[in-house]
């Protein structure tokens, strides 16, 4: 009985950070499925087993949706409460935030919808009054203090428990239980501390962690890396769905950004997970009125064709902001990585928080959380609004049902414009330094805020222009006097959609259209988003996550760029001309000791196996990990295997003289179908093969004989070289 026929634990698994071999994993899964289907005819138990195996995918998606939705609800409710904790406490119950504290109050006035006696600000608690300079100073001080406390707790928790929890986590990262818990807890703290960051990216990471953890409950997914990656893309879709309240956008996002390899079967599963997550979040009802996201838009006023010009202007602004942000942020992160600055992450977080809090308190638009700011900017002003931004002069005589004409701006609007301009500058500058710190931080909300502010400013400008110059040709033909011509809220929305630093155009547009609940604004949104993408592409090559990936040197192939050079496979393969020959194993003439020497002397992750050194005819490919594990296992468990035992990869043992130690068969770890290309294959095709099949390495043959090997890293280095980037700047691990 051959001990090595049964699978040895550890063979064929991956460390984190190693890219997986999709082809192998898919064929393993097909084998497993075939075996179960064949066995299902034997007994009822096997039939049940096969049915449950088929359903396990859907059950897993259901669980992922439930868990993601619940965690998102927990994060939302806690973040709202803690954000308001910086300003005061509710006397009805400490667990209520400002809005819920004043929910049942009868003392809320039309002008001041925020003030109610049940909500006590800190100055009221400490010095029993809310008026005066001293009260302002006390409020200021407590605000900064709470912000610093939250930020300190967040960064110290991340540092002590789960350093992989920091960051946005949309690219590959570590997905464990501790990371999940720490990310959830510290995300709330980071958002509440008033820093200019969002929670969308980290929510996607949280959802992926849920997916990874729940995979362990199911045998089918625990062992197969490729299927686990599919589950992770579906979990990412669920994460975006709860972050924005947009299930369809979530699935598209998962397609666009997260999935390397997206079979159609995953599409339905992703939809299912996203819908379950959205439904769970809705039942938990964090916002008290059955909405998923804070900035849901409800107006339906029409837009006019001439407004496309300002919309495209907003798109250009979005593209410029994107390019500027990526360049400056990468420069700052590179500085952090290479100088002393990176040695003090806690101090850095505290300093940035202090600066943000100190600058944010005086301006009422920076004091509120970014989501509230965006929702106020998206709001179309009507008669029922009394905020500063809606302080228009009502000079009309009659009011048609619901529709207000364009009105001149009052004093409040002008002062709001100044404050918003200052907010814009502050947010642009501070986000550059915030993104990349060692706490969970997302980028969507701050970028959307920048875009929304710019849009609103432009919208109000256009509105006043239309009012004061209604006799100009443009306005005369499209807008009749006394009609509601320009909606600044729409400009804010279009601005928010244009500011996509992540370059996910399609998903962002779909998310925005799901938020507005209608197709009427599709054209402006698409116009702005496409313009933004073209401008940003003209100025810089990649999105923020790709730029960070390049900075850190992960071997991900960019599936978006065409390779357009005329090099051949033999220009890229290793060994190069002056290098020593390729390290190969022979199929039946090496001893255990020889193999161990090769393993200890080299660091390659795999070795080709040839018939003999003279013929160099290829047999297969064997991975280093599998070799190590099998040999260790054999030494321990099989009798008589010593250093001089011959290793063979053939079906039958080679003839050995008598009185020599028994041979060791390692055929079952040999991949008998490695991918090969000839040395004259154009690199275009080789790059295509790597991308489409998800290979890790590919062997190069010449006239049927093994010549060299191309790995994924070689391909990436070559692409970088061809694109005139310095391949040494790619800091591979």
């Amino acid at each position: 009985m051959d001990f090595l026929e049964e699978p040895i634990p550890g063979v064929g698994t991956y460390d984190d950070f190693n890219t997986i071999d999709w082809v192998r994993e898919k064929s393993r899964d097909r084998d497993r499925h075939r075996e179960i289907t064949n066995k299902s005819k034997e007994s009822t138990w096997a039939l049940i087993h096969s049915v449950s195996d088929a359903f396990s995918g859907w059950l897993l998606m259901l669980l992922i949706g439930l868990l993601s939705g619940s965690l998102a609800g927990l994060i939302d409710i806690s973040a709202h409460w803690m954000t308001d904790l910086k300003e005061g406490i509710c006397t009805l119950g400490i667990w209520f935030n400002h809005e819920h504290c004043c929910w049942n109050s009868n003392h809320v006035t039309f002008e001041n919808r925020d003030k109610c006696p049940e909500w006590n600000s800190w100055s009221q608690l400490i010095i029993s009054t809310n008026e005066g300079a001293f009260a302002y100073i006390v409020n200021y001080f407590m605000y900064v203090l709470w912000a610093l406390l939250f930020a300190f707790l967040a960064v110290s928790l991340v540092k002590v428990f789960a350093p992989y929890a920091c960051g946005s986590g949309i690219p590959e990262g570590y997905l464990g239980k501790w990371t999940l818990m720490i990310k959830t807890i510290t995300l709330v703290l980071a958002v509440s501390s008033g820093l200019s960051l969002g929670k969308e990216g980290p929510l996607v990471h949280v959802a992926c962690c849920c997916g990874n953890i729940l995979c362990h409950c199911f045998n089918k997914y625990r062992k197969n890396e490729a299927k686990r990656r599919e589950v992770l893309s579906a979990a990412a879709a669920a994460g975006v769905s709860v972050a924005f309240g947009a299930p369809i956008g979530g699935v598209l996002f998962s397609l666009e950004e997260v999935s390397y390899y997206f079979p159609l079967k995953t599409l339905w599963r992703s939809f299912f997970a996203a819908l379950v997550a959205a439904f769970t979040l809705r039942s938990i009802n964090p916002f008290g009125n059955s909405r998923l996201v804070l900035f849901y838009v409800e107006f339906h006023t029409p837009w006019h064709l001439f407004e496309l010009v300002p919309f495209i202007l907003l798109g250009i602004f979005g593209g410029l902001w994107g390019a500027l942000f990526i360049r400056t942020n990468i420069a700052w992160c590179r500085k952090r990585k290479t100088t002393q600055l990176g040695k003090y992450p806690v101090v850095e977080v505290l300093v940035v928080t202090a600066i943000t809090a100190i600058l944010a308190f005086p301006n009422e638009y920076t004091r509120v959380s970014t989501s509230e700011l965006i929702s106020e900017l998206f709001n179309d002003c009507g008669l029922l609004d009394s905020s500063k931004l809606c302080d228009y002069e009502n000079r009309f005589n009659t009011s048609k049902a619901g529709e207000l004409p364009d009105r001149p701006a009052g004093v409040g609007v002008y002062s709001a414009m100044w404050q918003l301009a200052l907010t814009l500058i502050l947010k642009i500058v501070i986000t550059i330094f915030t993104f990349g710190m060692k706490i969970p931080s997302g980028l969507f909300i701050p970028s959307m805020a920048v875009g929304a502010i710019a849009g609103r400013l432009l919208g109000v400008g256009m509105e006043q222009l239309a009012y004061y110059h209604h006799d100009w040709a443009i306005f005369n033909s499209w807008c009749s006097q006394g009609a509601d011509c320009i909606t600044p809220g729409l400009y804010a929305m279009v601005g928010a959609a244009a500011c996509g630093v992540t370059r996910m155009t399609v998903s962002l547009v779909v998310i925005m259209f799901e938020l507005t609940g209608g197709l009427e604004y599709i054209v402006p949104l698409m116009a702005a988003a496409m313009t933004s993408k073209w401008v940003a592409d003209a100025l810089g090559r990649e999105g923020i996550y790709d730029a960070h990936i390049r900075l850190n040197g992960y071997p991900f192939l960019e599936a978006k760029e065409e390779f357009a050079h005329k090099t051949l496979a033999m220009d890229v393969m290793k060994p190069r001309r002056n290098d020593p020959l390729l390290t190969v194993l022979t199929q039946d003439s090496m001893t255990v000791e020889d193999v161990e020497t090769i393993i200890s002397e080299t660091t390659y992750s795999g070795f080709p196996v040839v018939v003999s050194r003279e013929s160099q005819r290829l047999v297969g490919f064997v991975l280093r990990r599998d070799l190590i594990i099998s040999i260790e296992n054999a030494r321990k468990k099989q009798d008589g295997v010593v250093s001089t035992s011959v290793i063979y990869f053939t079906e039958h043992s080679p003839p050995v003289p008598p009185y020599t130690p028994p041979t060791l068969k390692l055929r079952n770890i040999l991949d008998l179908s490695p991918f090969t290309v000839t040395d004259l294959t154009p690199m275009e095709i080789v790059v295509d093969i790597f991308r489409k099949l998800g290979l890790r390495q590919c062997l190069v043959t010449h006239n049927g004989r093994l010549l060299g090997i191309i790995t994924k890293k070689d391909v990436l280095k070559h692409i970088a070289q061809m694109a005139n980037q310095d391949p040494d700047s790619i800091l591979f691990n």
Binding site: F17, L71, S105, V160, P163, G167, G173, G288, N552
Partner: protein, 244 residues
């Protein structure tokens, strides 16, 4: 030994090579005091690992309980709807001489309109209809129980984590130092100060091999976790690898 650390791999498996030098000097006191010290050490380590193991178990359980409990809450909140948790909110803009006003009342959805909620009516007779046409009444529901329970869950998890963090960073090194004296503190010079707890933990726990199997497994799991976190931290904070 066959296994050689692959430098391309960021996570090393197996024991770390440089987990501190083994103290060459044995205790000058007799074997009796050494045995006593060993027992005290065993007790402390057992307590530590038991607590850590329980915390890990608790964390896993709490995660799974979280989803279930929140779902249960949803059911509960649907069942027992507090009258305080529903309201009809009417916003009425300024009209003639009256300023704008907001009216709140805890009534059900079918009664949510201007006539039921606006009380006292500021205008008389035929004006009432004009006034009410301008008002906008919305029905809103919330669940204060959900909010309360969520905040309590969050704060308790946060509190537990903070306690554990304080224990790991402050209490454990003090206890170790008291037991072993300064000579046996790990001189891992390349690591920053707060790596101390983990480096110490590994060495301390590595000594106490002769124990029950369950504790051994818990200890091994905790050891492995700590090493993993240490590795993670090296790669994140020292080499700034993980993407932000």
């Amino acid at each position: 030994m066959l296994f050689v650390a692959d430098p391309a791999r960021p996570v090393t498996r197996g024991p770390r090579r440089k987990c501190g030098r083994r103290s060459p000097s044995r205790s000058p006191a007799g074997s009796w005091s050494r045995g006593l010290r060993l027992w005290r050490l065993l007790g402390l380590a057992a307590m530590a690992t038991l607590w850590a193991g329980l915390l890990r178990l608790a964390s896993m359980l709490s995660l799974s309980c979280l989803a279930l409990s929140v779902l249960l809450l949803v059911q509960l909140s649907d069942a027992a709807k507090n009258s305080e948790d529903v309201r009809c909110k009417c916003i009425c803009p300024p009209y003639k001489d009256n300023s704008g006003h907001i009216y709140n009342k805890n009534i059900s959805q079918k009664d949510c309109d201007c006539l039921h909620v606006v009380d006292p009516m500021p205008v008389r007779g035929p004006d009432v209809e004009a006034y009410c046409l301008r008002c906008e009444c919305k029905y809103e529901e919330r669940s204060s129980v959900t909010i309360k329970v969520t905040i309590i869950i969050y704060l308790s998890i946060l509190g537990l984590l903070l306690l554990y963090m304080v224990y790991l960073t402050l209490v454990e090194p003090i206890l170790k130092r008291r037991l072993f004296g300064h000579s046996q503190l790990i001189q891992s010079d390349d690591d920053v100060g707060d790596h101390q707890p983990f480096a110490n933990a590994h060495d301390v726990l590595a000594r106490s091999r002769s124990r029950a199997n369950v504790l051994n497994k818990v200890e091994y799991a905790q050891q492995r976790w700590k090493l993993q976190v240490q590795e993670q931290r090296k790669s994140v904070f020292d080499r700034h690898v993980v993407l932000s």
